[in-house]
Symmetry: C2
Subunit: 210 residues, 2 copies
């Protein structure tokens, strides 16, 4: 059986990319990162080395031209799964429809709470008792596609947003590679816009309070 | 020390009202329900008996007249705490500013997720892994005031919205009276729009997965 071909889109340090690459290096994980695409030539995630293509698409291009170039590159790479990992650009339906149910993202909140930016500041301000991260399919809505996995953590009211961010980032690094691995095992599918995970009950990971 | 005087606003069966009345009947709870106000003369919650005033305000009145009458009644009752319990009317700043930090509400979701109506249907549709209920202060935003307490439950993907609703309602009946009791103990205060609960750590209730 061939490995699941993964392309990761980044804009910055690529810490989730790194976690995914590490996971894919394990023998029992049937996935491999075949390409990294960045809209930022200075993204330190581009410094990671391995058997994958690195592509930079100029962020100054118009949205249409940017996405045409992105689409051309994706067509060449033919990924089975596209992972957004700190990719700071919203994809239009031109991309999301072409790759429906093949693009996933990690968001540092328990969606649908705190979509968009500054999630941790807003979570602390709202006084929620827990926060966490969500892996979800990407559709035309902002941070709104079908939810695949969520992991939560209690909020200590004395926490700064930096501390909360760091805590949740560590959770992302665990859950995102895990979800990629589940894709490789063909355990994730979408039915009527809802995610079905085969044997989800055995994955206590998804409801664990890290 | 006098008891905390509580007025409860309802529109329907008043199951949370009943839970609060039951809690207040306990010796160690220094709170009592002194009034029930309903915008619906058929609300079955009005059939509950006890040492409290029952007031019906005509729902057909204009918002301004309705709230003037509500305010007049509240001024007479002089509650220390106003609990919205299935009260299906949004209060304007005319009321919320006059009773700032004295009105609380229960909402059947982990706010800020799923504000407004049809919360369970939307939670199931979104595929969130957990839902729950939130007790929060009422301000001029819809379901948006400072959060006091949240209790969560895992969502079983085969659950109907009715089942989820029933499960969460049971949680509301536990946590809402508990919060009223904490008010009576003067353990809840608001500082810079954030809720401070004295000795919150001892209240494992708030992070418990029921």
């Amino acid at each position: 059986m061939g490995k699941l071909k993964v392309v990761v889109l980044i804009s910055g340090r690529g810490s989730n990319l790194k976690a995914i690459i590490n996971k894919c290096s394990k023998k029992n994980v049937l996935a491999k990162v075949i390409g990294i695409i960045s809209n930022n030539s200075n993204a330190s995630g581009l410094k990671l080395t391995g058997d994958f293509k690195k592509i930079i698409i100029d962020n100054k291009l118009s949205k249409k031209r940017f996405e045409t170039e992105l689409q051309n590159n994706l067509e060449k790479l033919k990924p089975d799964l596209i992972c957004l990992a700190g990719f700071m650009k919203i994809l239009s339906p031109f991309i999301t429809k072409k790759w429906k149910n093949k693009i996933i993202n990690v968001h540092p909140s328990l969606l649908p709470s705190f979509k968009g930016l500054n999630t941790h500041e807003r979570a602390l301000k709202a006084g929620v008792k827990k926060s966490g991260c969500t892996i979800h399919f990407v559709d035309e809505s902002l941070d709104g596609g079908p939810i695949i996995a969520q992991v939560e953590t209690s909020i200590n009211k004395k926490m700064s947003s930096k501390e909360l961010s760091e805590k949740i980032l560590k959770m992302e690094h665990k859950i995102y590679p895990e979800v990629v691995s589940l894709f490789a095992k063909k355990r994730i599918c979408v039915k009527e816009d809802k995610v079905i995970i085969k044997d989800e009950k055995k994955l206590n990971f998804f409801i664990k309070n890290i």
